[in-house]
């Protein structure tokens, strides 16, 4: 498991919560493109914008395909960008399996659209500097993903760790 929430430092510059309804697959990408626009407007570093966009898209996709609906909170700090995803179920049975590239429980209708490659959570984890995934079967899932804005605190050279 990744380390817990980063120590609170830096000033909060922006905060906004977006709602993602269950099954809203046609709209997937709407939150991510909005987040991207906001980050660019705030002058966030392009590499950070790129990584946050990927994390947001995958999280948004998972909420739409798998859950009864959920929300995404974007927090932009002076030193980092955080995305917090939460939903109201059904939760993830096996947390190790979902982090394994290629593993997917996506239904056929989602696979036909090109989802369900089993890369969603691995993509999120790869692009985040800190990634915390908690889930309770029957209850829901919560994910916190942090991307540092200063280069020296980021992992790798942008591409993140490769499996």
């Amino acid at each position: 498991m990744s380390p817990s929430t980063p120590a609170k430092r830096g000033r909060l510059l922006y905060r906004r919560t977006f709602y993602v309804p269950a099954g809203a697959i046609a709209d997937v990408g709407a939150v991510s493109t909005q987040v991207r626009r906001i980050l660019r407007g705030l002058g966030v570093e392009p590499e950070v914008v790129r990584r946050v966009s990927i994390i947001c898209f995958e999280g948004e996709t998972n909420i739409a395909i798998f859950t009864k609906g959920g929300r995404i909170t974007l927090m932009v700090w002076e030193d980092r960008v955080e995305l917090f995803f939460s939903d109201s179920g059904p939760g993830i049975e096996d947390l190790e399996l979902v982090r394994r590239p290629g593993y997917s429980t996506a239904p056929d209708w989602a696979r036909e659209l090109g989802f369900g490659a089993g890369m969603g959570i691995p993509n999120m984890e790869k692009n985040a500097d800190v990634f915390v995934l908690r889930s309770r079967p029957g209850k829901g899932t919560a994910i916190r993903a942090t991307v540092w804005r200063s280069r020296d605190e980021r992992k790798g050279s942008g591409a993140g760790t490769r499996a």
């Binding site: 697959i25 046609a26 709209d27 997937v28 990408g29 709407a30 991510s32 493109t33 991207r36 790129r50 966009s53 990927i54 898209f57 995958e58 996709t61 659209l113 090109g114 989802f115 490659a117 089993g118 890369m119 969603g120 993509n123 790869k126």
Partner: protein, 115 residues
Amino acid sequence: MNAREVARALGLEAVAFPHPEAEVEGGFCSDLLSRAMAEASPGEAWITYQRHLNVVAVAKLKELSMVILARGPEPEPEVAARAEEEGVNLLRSGAGMFELAGRLYTLLSRGPRNR
């Protein structure tokens, strides 16, 4: 080589073409959106059989130079409208993915120096 030149060379039909001057820096083929999300690089042309709204979102987020829809039905009007709105170049072809990839590869391999 920019998107307009690629479109002309490959005989592509425009579905939405808001940025014909975009530089095409390479190509990428996949029908899996997460794979495109993970592996496509900014400036690349994405060749795919998928033709729904999410394709536009991926192309936008990844800052791709264009999306080439391989042989298949015309995309829904809202897909064209969204691409226009988001500034995503969306073109289609009667050729399959294999042929498009081969022709694009040849085209880009020539490079500006050897032309």
